[in-house]
Structure formats: structure tokens, C-alpha cells
């Protein structure tokens, strides 16, 4: 539990955008996991299993009541200045990630934070692997577009 709680919290935060709600989601996830421990076939699959439970818990929140639009902290992305501090760089990137639509943000978070392959993400999200590859590609493009400002969305990592 200790090994996964931090990672799950981060994933939950990027799903819902709220610290307190993310903690609640993690609590509920582990409670449900605890109650159905016999459903876990192999311990190596624990991370994916917990991620699935957390996504379902998050979806349950939307079933119970309409959630307000995720309100991430919004920073002025153009105001980076020369030689930004490390924390400033992180803040700018976080704001950009927060601005991504969920269909781009979620697979990106699963890939980068969770370390899942495109195939695993496809299974988790119930879409094709090709769709995942397209969405994470576009997620990166959109981030670069927001951060660099000049990159055309159609540009592919420096190709004309």
C-alpha cells in the first residue's frame, strides 16, 4: 500500500484537480481494493488493478452528482522570464498539463507517471492502442505549443 499510495494520489490529483478529493479517492480505492483482494490475480498487476479501481471511483463521483469543471490553478504561461527557477518551470508545465483536455491528459499521465505502455493504457481506457498513441502524441504537441508558443500543432518535432 505504501508503495502505491503516492503514485495513486498523483494520478487521482491529475484526474480530479483537487487535493482533498484526490486523497478521498485514494482512501476509497484502497478500501475497495482491501474488500476485494481475492480479485487480484498477481501482485505484479497491483498497480494496474488499483488504477482501474481509482478510475471507477472517480467515475462514481460523477454519477452521484454533477461535478464542477475542473479548476486547476491557471498561471500566465507567457510570464516565464529569463532563467526561470526550477519550481517556476514546474508550475508552468503543470498549468499547461492542466489545460489539456481530459482525453489527452489522462493517457499522458498514465504513460509518464504510471509508466504504462500504450497497450496497457488502451486496455484501461477501453480504446485502441492506435488511439492512445494518437492522443499522447497530440498531448505532447499541445504542451509544446502552449509552452513554446510558436510551434504549429501540425509540426512533428522539428520536421518542416
Amino acid at each position: 500500500m505504501r508503495a502505491h499510495s503516492g503514485e495513486l494520489y498523483r494520478y487521482a490529483y491529475w484526474l480530479c484537480g483537487e487535493n482533498a478529493l484526490a486523497q478521498d479517492l485514494v482512501q476509497e480505492t484502497f478500501l475497495r481494493a482491501w474488500r476485494s483482494l481475492d480479485a487480484l490475480r498477481e501482485t505484479v498487476a497491483a498497480k494496474a488493478w488499483l488504477t482501474t479501481i481509482l478510475r471507477r471511483e472517480h467515475a462514481r463521483l460523477y454519477e452521484r452528482k454533477p461535478m464542477p469543471t475542473t479548476d486547476f490553478t491557471d498561471l500566465d504561461l507567457s510570464d516565464t522570464g529569463p532563467g526561470p527557477e526550477r519550481t517556476g518551470e514546474d508550475a508552468v508545465m503543470r498549468a499547461a498539463i492542466a489545460k489539456l483536455e481530459p482525453k489527452y491528459r489522462e493517457p499522458l499521465v498514465l504513460q509518464v507517471l504510471g509508466g504504462f505502455s500504450c497497450e496497457e493504457i488502451a486496455r484501461e481506457l477501453g480504446i485502441t492502442e492506435a488511439a492512445v498513441m494518437t492522443q499522447v502524441f497530440r498531448a505532447r504537441q499541445k504542451l509544446k505549443s502552449m509552452l513554446d508558443g510558436e510551434v504549429r500543432e501540425a509540426e512533428v518535432y522539428g520536421l518542416p
Binding site: G6, Y9, R10, Q23, Q27, F30, I97, C118, F137, Y157
Partner: protein
């Protein structure tokens, strides 16, 4: 593999580069530079995503899990104990009638043993539990409680020997103070006791017995009045042994 295909793969997953992709990179300096840029960008994304985890989250999750497990076991115990307790009670009554003596293990012994056997994580938690949770624990034990005292950081319905209890912790100065209310068993009189490094007080309150247990007894008077108020009403009209 050509540059376009390489760049598409790079954008989809910069870390999972196939043998063909690596081979292309070795022969194409521009794509090799693009790969280096992509790794740097990926590091920025990963660093930004790795937000700080709230302190103590793992402990709180563990505490919730263990509390839930205790509650589930207590429910199981409740129904199993109906049959067992009936037989045990009958044996005790017969034994008492025959010998005129109390059971071998006294309530202070049982409570001390139970508290010493609890997970340290319960006793070290400092986050107050919800008042509703405390009310539910008492209600499950068939006890109506007035206003829930503040400062309860742990609550669980625990079997202590043959007794049913609501076990709580109300810390003071980073030291746990165990507050165990034994339902439907009223001690004949109040008593002070010592078990090892723990000091205790046994107080008949309402239909049960409050047992306080801690290394330091300085809060015992306050806690006794607080719980008498919660379980019997206003202390100036409540009848008690003290």
C-alpha cells in the same frame, strides 16, 4: 524506418524506442537530436506531474483500512459471540453461583491487554475522526451518546474478552490516552489501577463502564467528567461513583 515514422513514434512514447527506431537514430543526426530534445521534454513533464504527496497519506489510508477491517471483524464477532457469549455467560453464572468469585481476568487486565495489543499506528494517529463515526460506533453497541467529545483520533468497536466495547484514543502531549467504554457492564465501583507502565481508572457511567488507560493520569478527571456528560447528561445532575 524513415524520419516521419521515427518522429511519430517519438511523440507517442519517447521511452519505448524499438530496435528499428534506434537503428534509424544512429544514422540520422537530426532524429538523434530530436530524440535528445524529446527526452529532456519528457523529463520536464515527469517532474511536473510528480506533485508533492500530502504528508501522512499512507498512514491515514492504512488507518482507515485497519479501522474498516476491525469494524468488519467486530460485526462478525457480534453474531458469532451471540452463541458463544450465551454459553460463556451461563458458565460464568454457574461458576459464580458455585464459587461466589469473579472471572479470573478482571476488566482492567483485559482492557490493558487489548490496548497493548493494538497496532501502534492507531495510537499514533493525530487526525481527529469524524463525530459521526463515533456516534455510529456507540449506536452499533446500542448506546446513545450526547455530544461527542472533541479530540478523538481513533474509534473502533472492539471485543475485549467477553465484553463489547467502544475503544477510542484521545491523545495528550503526543501520548495516547485510551478511552474504552464497556457497554452493558457496569462496574460495582470506581477504581484506580496500575498495569506495568500504564495507569488506569475504571468508572461506572450510565449502563456501562469507562476505562481510562495512559502513562500519565493528569487528564483523567477531565475525561471522566467529559464522558459522564456525554453518556449521562449534565454532570451536575448525573449520578456516579465519583
Amino acid at each position: 524506418m524513415d524520419c516521419l515514422e521515427f518522429r511519430r513514434l517519438l511523440g507517442s512514447d519517447p521511452r519505448a524506442m524499438s530496435a528499428a527506431a534506434r537503428e534509424h537514430m544512429e544514422s540520422c543526426p537530426r532524429c538523434a537530436q530530436a530524440f535528445a530534445d524529446a527526452q529532456a521534454f519528457e523529463t520536464r513533464i515527469a517532474h511536473a506531474l510528480a506533485i508533492d504527496v500530502p504528508e501522512g497519506l499512507a498512514d491515514r489510508v492504512l488507518l482507515t483500512q485497519l479501522t474498516e477491517e476491525r469494524r468488519r471483524r467486530a460485526t462478525g464477532f457480534r453474531y458469532g459471540w451471540i452463541a458463544l457469549a450465551a454459553a460463556a455467560a451461563l458458565a460464568v453464572v454457574v461458576g459464580v453461583v458455585q464459587r461466589g468469585t469473579a472471572p479470573a481476568h478482571s476488566l482492567p487486565d483485559l482492557v490493558t491487554e487489548h490496548v497493548n495489543g493494538e497496532e501502534r499506528v492507531f495510537l499514533s494517529n493525530r487526525t481527529p475522526v469524524d463525530a459521526g463515526e463515533v456516534e455510529r460506533a456507540f449506536a452499533d453497541r446500542g448506546v446513545r451518546i450526547g455530544s461527542v467529545p472533541a479530540g478523538i483520533t481513533y474509534v473502533s468497536e472492539c471485543p475485549v474478552g467477553a465484553y463489547r466495547t467502544v475503544h477510542m484514543v484521545m491523545p495528550e502531549n503526543d501520548k495516547p490516552v485510551s478511552v474504552v467504554y464497556v457497554v452493558h457492564h457496569r462496574a460495582p465501583a470506581g477504581d484506580e489501577f496500575t498495569r506495568g507502565n500504564l495507569k488506569g481508572r475504571e468508572v461506572p457511567i450510565a449502563d456501562g463502564t469507562l476505562v481510562l488507560l495512559a502513562e500519565d493520569t493528569s487528564r483523567f478527571d477531565t475525561l471522566e467528567h467529559t464522558w459522564r456528560d456525554a453518556l449521562e447528561g449534565r454532570p451536575d445532575i448525573a449520578a456516579g461513583s465519583r
